[in-house]
């Protein structure tokens, strides 16, 4: 059985000028993108392809919160994201490497937090 692929274009579906980390930073922040677009698409069980092209640039805080937040806040597993979440950027492939860094860092942060919780209990 093949899992349907849902495509999300940040520029077309969300904003050409994504900006900020948290909702209080503005309506086009990484948190809002994650909560309103990315997480619901992944929660539906579909595979998700995020198209990063067409915007007027990204700040690292937007990218970290949108993607790293999937692990830190939405409790998605790294393995699940590896199998169902894909990115594309013809204009700047280095963005894909950067996002994977955020996912790896969020995973490490998350497991360090759960290890310290275990050692306290």
């Amino acid at each position: 059985m093949t899992i349907p692929i849902r495509k999300i274009s940040i520029a077309k579906d969300f904003s050409k000028v994504p900006a900020g980390r948290y909702a209080e930073d503005g309506p086009k922040s990484g948190q809002i993108f994650r909560e309103q677009f990315l997480a619901p698409a992944l929660e539906s069980g579909d595979s998700v392809l995020v198209d990063l092209d067409g915007t007027e640039g990204y700040g690292s805080s937007f990218l970290e919160e949108a993607f790293g937040g999937l692990i830190r806040k939405q409790r998605f597993g790294r393995a699940d994201l590896l199998s169902r979440l894909n990115f594309t950027s013809a204009a700047d492939p280095s963005l894909l490497v950067e996002i994977n860094q955020y996912l790896d860092e969020a995973t490490a942060e998350d497991s360090a937090a759960s290890d310290s919780k275990k050692s306290r209990s």
């Binding site: 900020g20 980390r21 007027e56 640039g57 990204y58 690292s60 805080s61 937007f62 700047d92 950067e98």
Partner: protein
């Protein structure tokens, strides 16, 4: 042996040495052209690296201008910084592809990613004052800028 044998032998020897000379000249020309082409290619790559390197300091200045004032005064600067970084990243990726196609060692994108991460680390976050020069974000910006310049200098040296 008759006369025609010696004539044939002489003709064969002359034709043979002529053919060898023609082949030598042909390969000599091919090698020279290939060396000239290689030199032109290296020169173009070095020029492109220089051109990309010349964009690093303007990006740093833009970041300094943005972080040098409270965030609410720098919304346009923040957007310009993101857009200029995107253009820079695009040029970096294209240049690196050409470098690899020309069989020089890749610059890689690690310095580019650190540079972008540091420059945009606090972008769009509410900040009532200018960023202190000793703030870790400011320090990270200077370090990442130095690494980008170092990577481009190294690439230029290797393409010489």
């Amino acid at each position: 042996m008759d006369d025609s044998f010696w004539k044939g032998l002489t003709f064969g020897a002359v034709a043979g040495s002529l053919a060898i000379e023609l082949i030598r000249q042909f390969f000599g020309r091919v090698m020279r052209r290939s060396a000239e082409k290689g030199e032109i290619q290296r020169k173009l790559i070095r020029e492109d690296i220089e051109s990309l390197a010349s964009k690093v300091m303007p990006l740093l200045s833009l970041a300094q201008e943005y972080y040098g004032k409270p965030s609410h005064q720098g919304k346009e600067l923040a957007q310009k910084l993101k857009a200029d970084l995107q253009v820079f990243a695009n040029a970096w990726n294209l240049l690196d592809t050409r470098i690899v196609e020309s069989r020089f060692p890749t610059i890689g994108n690690a310095p580019l990613i650190s540079f972008r991460r540091s420059l945009t680390g606090l972008l769009d976050r509410t900040r009532p004052n200018a960023l202190d020069i000793n703030d870790p974000v400011a320090v990270a910006i200077f370090n990442a800028t130095a690494k980008v310049q170092e990577a481009l200098s190294k690439a230029k040296y290797l393409a010489a």
